[in-house]
């Protein structure tokens, strides 16, 4: 019996050593081509620390999965929210890691880490060395010196600051838990105006006529209630709304992620399904352009080189997303897999 027990113990040890872990390799080797390509931002799950960056090369048509970690031998962090590029440098805003990773846009190698944020969401660059970063919690804008990679000042704004846009010496700040779009003078860094919009402004785009379009989700978190979303056109000369189209919410998040085509005369957004709106039309169509069949569309952007629309489906938010490419007639051109919770695409043309 003792001998048997010894054998059994050996069996225990052996079986422990034998369990091989699955090796999850990228589908394609990690190649970063200097000719430019597509940055795929995968948010990852809140507090899982599994945000990833995928890189899709236009020339080789190859996808490097988890390219940040492959290049830099470390994980990126928690919730990759957005990317901004300035010259050769890329700025990865890692929301719940409360930091911005500065990378070389061609090699993806890290150059610096900017810390000191509470909940960074988006960044825009003004001139050569100054950047504005929106803070979702602890509301406001942090001003960053891009030479020293240090936060140099703070512009206080109450509320969850979201997408930003700079035009003609003015910084436009969406506040997604309010009915306000703030306008900041980039000379003085002082709030000079606020424009009342529908509840939950979250994203903005400038069209070919230099009009500003603001998308509101209608998601009233504080009030616990839900309102209609809206698409607003703003004249930036006088900063007033010239047109407002109300949009019925189709999901919890409502209308989000306003994007435009290369000519800047067609707008797209997600409201459960994907919607399309040519800027010269008077009313917003209630018919989806790409309908959701229980899809959880979470990422959207437009490739100006190929005139294709990239749409990410986060599925159950706990598995790798599916990315579909559509042409201008909404015909599916291709499909590939990206990381967990693909949140945005960034086309880097050289």
């Amino acid at each position: 019996m003792n001998k048997n027990y010894l054998l059994y113990l050996i069996f225990l040890v052996v079986i422990g050593a034998c369990e091989t872990q699955p090796i999850i390799t990228p589908e394609y080797p990690a190649i970063v081509n200097p000719k430019g390509g597509l940055f795929i931002l995968n948010e990852g799950n809140f507090q899982f620390g599994n945000a990833t960056l995928d890189y899709y090369d236009f020339i080789t048509q190859k996808l490097a999965t988890n390219a940040f970690e492959t290049t830099n031998n470390r994980k990126l962090g928690d919730i990759l929210q957005s990317i901004t590029h300035h010259g050769e440098k890329g700025y990865l805003i890692v929301n719940n890691s409360q930091k911005i990773e500065v990378i070389n846009m061609n090699t993806l190698a890290t150059a610096a880490t900017i810390t000191g944020f509470v909940s960074p969401r988006y960044m825009v660059v003004n001139g050569f060395q100054k950047a504005y970063v929106s803070e979702y919690y602890n509301g406001g804008i942090k001003v960053v010196d891009l030479n020293t990679n240090q936060i140099i000042s703070k512009i206080p704004i109450g509320g969850n600051c979201d997408e930003l846009l700079i035009h003609n010496g003015k910084l436009y700040v969406t506040v997604s838990n309010k009915k306000l779009l703030y306008v900041i003078n980039t000379q003085s860094d002082v709030v000079m105006d606020s424009i009342e919009v529908a509840y939950g402004p979250n994203s903005l785009k400038i069209d070919k006529n230099k009009d500003l379009w603001v998308l509101s989700s209608g998601r009233n978190i504080i009030g616990g209630g839900f309102e209609n979303g809206a698409l607003q056109k703003i004249n930036m000369e006088v900063d007033t709304i010239v047109n407002i189209q109300y949009i019925t919410r189709q999901s919890d998040h409502g209308p989000i992620k306003l994007r435009s085509n290369a000519k800047k005369d067609v707008l797209y957004w997600i409201n459960k399904s994907i919607y399309k709106h040519p800027i010269n039309e008077n009313t917003v169509s209630s018919n989806p352009w790409i309908p959701s069949f229980n899809n959880n569309f979470w990422a959207l952007n437009y490739d100006s080189l190929t005139d294709e629309l990239y749409v990410g489906d986060a599925i159950d938010f706990v598995q790798r997303s599916t990315v579909n490419r559509y042409d201008e007639t909404a015909t599916l051109k291709g499909t590939f897999k990206a990381g967990i919770i693909t949140g945005d695409f960034y086309f880097y043309y050289k």
Partner: protein
């Protein structure tokens, strides 16, 4: 003095005493006289696997919480969110909400969340801990699809003692415990209290930073205290009453996960539990009446994100059961249970309540000395609506003096939690989850002059339908009866005990391999079909080597947990880990005072590991404790 020693239950006083105490733990389910056991959970549970924590295990874990005890000592997978942070359980590949926790017969599962945080339950407050695998709602009530953890307090008639313990450990752990017991043959009063503080500033590598530096976990401090008062009165030789009150308070800071710069969130848990029990036993029949009030308060607050939630949950349980020995071969148990849940939460539009009335019936048959069977049946009526009936059957066949075959099958169910139903985005149309479980067992037992061996091999299979999952559905997060989860696996448990003079050697090896996969989806592009559920390891094993002699013990424990997937399509995972723990202790008699000293070293290999992704766990750490008992 003898009374004191007996009370303390420290059976490592002598080799033979430990052996004597260890033996029944493994043979409990085969005691012929079912009425001898105090609860129906054991006596009407034939054919299902049940393991009771032996005295050495309880002694070693005396300073720990139940989550730690279960993770080293059972095949229940404990999902720990960090040192002294929330810890939930998974039985045989089931979810955290599929574990029933019965404290002296009263279910402690939180009605809002359906799960129990085992880090809030101190081992020192419980006298008898057993783990019932396989679940069986007909016996344990709604919610017990995966399994049940049975916690009992023993009456302290004829016991008197005063005991004080102080423990200090790594990461700022300080714990003090005081126990007072005064009992005569007519009545008893017992009070237990503890106070614990810990910094939990464990070290970990921040692998998301360029420096990959070793840093200390910030904002993880914890303070907790508890009080348990017990009193009992023997009305006459046939009747006794017991009254128990349990207060628990824990205030925890929630640390940042790896990659986060900081976290300001904290959580306060407070509970009050009052239980009254009446027993009347004669030779052939035994009545038990229970009445309990359970009050849970939870406050989570994150000042940075303004995410906060406060919830109050009140539960009333009343139960009356009767066990009758109809004849030498047949025993019967029946009863009724009323459970009322009343909840208030900042996430609800209005207060929620639920009234559950249940009747249950169990039958035991001892066909001959070799063959025993059991059958359980239960019907729940919730807010006037008949729920699916639940049933269980089991059998035990004694092949020869060494070998037993067991079989058990049951149909179980779990009600949606109050959060599932009444949360702002909840779904009032949810159906209960249904579970169908079967298991087969093979048990080999053999006693030698100086040794004892027990091998148990189990195969199980379980299907859970209507599994409730919160999932985005075209961008809206709602709970739905979504999944069909198929779990199956094998378990092997080995015990070997050898006595030589004053020495007792014992070896334990437990191994489990299971698959728990999702079989259904309604989402396009979904790659989860047939894939293992996240956070459920396929392979786990534990082994123990213990030597006791006179008043000394020395134990080595090895716990291995296989990798766990972190994505539902099984494309990413957290690494497996192996922990090696060493426990040693000794007791001295110093005039009238018994002094216990202990040194425990956890994770002696200093492995850096995570149970859940990005949540670091302690590397090598120590615990020293001193106890005084008179």
């Amino acid at each position: 003095m003898k009374k004191v020693l007996a009370f303390a239950g420290l059976l490592w006083l002598s080799c033979m005493q430990l052996l004597a105490q260890t033996l029944p733990a493994d043979t409990v389910q085969y005691l012929p006289n079912f009425i001898a056991r105090s609860q129906r959970f054991e006596s009407f549970n034939i054919g299902a696997k049940m393991v009771r924590a032996d005295s050495l295990v309880k002694l070693i874990a005396q300073h720990d919480n139940l989550a730690q005890l279960l993770s080293y000592n059972s095949q229940v997978f404990v999902r720990a969110y960090g040192p002294n942070q929330i810890a939930t359980t998974s039985f045989r590949g089931a979810g955290a909400q599929h574990t029933a926790v019965l404290w002296n017969g009263v279910n402690l599962q939180n009605s809002l969340m359906g799960q129990t945080d085992f880090s809030l339950l101190p081992v020192g407050f419980i006298d008898d801990i057993s783990v019932h695998y396989g679940g069986n709602s007909a016996l344990y009530g709604a919610g017990a699809i995966g399994g049940a953890v049975i916690l009992n307090n023993a009456p302290a008639f004829n016991k008197q003692s005063i005991s004080y313990q102080i423990g200090a450990g790594s990461f700022g752990l300080m714990q003090q415990r005081l126990t007072l017991t005064f009992g005569n043959k007519k009545c008893y009063f017992k009070a237990r209290t503890y106070y614990q503080t810990a910094k939990n500033n464990i070290e970990y590598h921040d692998y998301t930073s360029a420096e990959n530096s070793l840093q200390k976990l910030a904002h993880a401090q914890q303070k907790s205290y508890g009080l348990m008062l017990e009193s009992g009165f023997m009305i006459n030789p046939k009747q006794e009453i017991n009254l128990r009150y349990w207060l628990g308070f824990t205030d925890r800071n929630i640390p940042p996960t790896i990659g986060m710069a900081f976290n300001n969130a904290y959580q306060i848990d407070e509970f009050n539990r009052l239980g009254f029990e009446w027993k009347r036993a004669t030779n052939k029949t035994r009545w038990i009446g229970r009445l309990a009030f359970v009050n849970d308060y939870l406050n989570y607050n994150d000042p940075t994100t303004y995410n906060s939630g406060i919830s109050f949950s009140k539960t009333i349980v009343s139960e009356l059961e009767n066990t009758i020995q109809i004849n030498l071969k047949t025993g019967l148990n029946f009863g009724i249970n009323y459970t009322g849940n009343f909840a208030q939460s900042s996430g609800y539009i209005q207060n929620a309540s639920r009234n559950n009335l249940a009747s249950f019936l169990s039958l035991n048959n001892n066909w001959n000395n070799k063959f025993k069977t059991t059958a359980n049946l239960r019907q729940d009526i919730v807010d006037g609506v008949f729920q699916p009936y639940t049933a269980g059957i089991g059998a035990d066949y004694k092949w020869n003096q060494y070998l037993n075959f067991t079989v058990n099958a049951n149909k179980s169910f779990r009600l949606p939690t109050l959060n599932d139903l009444y949360w702002v985005t909840g779904n009032p149309n949810l159906l209960p989850e249904k579970g169908y479980a079967q298991e087969l067992g093979l048990i080999v037992k053999r006693t030698f002059v100086h040794a004892y061996i027990n091998l148990q091999f189990n195969v199980f299979n379980r299907q859970i339908n209507n599994w409730i999952l919160w999932q985005p559905y075209g961008g809206t997060w709602i709970p739905q009866n979504l999944l069909e989860v198929w779990s199956r696996g094998i378990e092997w448990n080995t015990r070997y005990t050898y006595c030589y003079n004053k020495f007792m050697f014992s070896l334990r090896g437990d191994i489990s391999y299971l698959l728990s996969t999702n079989q259904k989806t309604n989402l396009p592009n979904d790659a989860t079909l047939g894939k293992q559920l996240i956070y459920i390891p396929r392979l786990t094993y534990q082994s123990w080597l213990s030597v006791t002699c006179n008043n000394t013990y020395f134990s080595i424990n090895q716990t291995y947990t296989g990798y766990r997937f972190t994505s539902s399509d099984n494309t990413s995972f957290v690494n497996d880990y192996l922990l090696l723990n060493v426990f040693t202790g000794k007791s001295f008699q110093f005039k009238k005072v018994k002094v216990d000293a202990k040194i425990h070293i956890n994770n002696i290999l200093n492995n850096e590991y995570q149970v859940l992704p990005s949540r670091p766990m302690p590397m090598r750490n120590f615990l020293f404790s001193l106890g005084f008992t008179i």
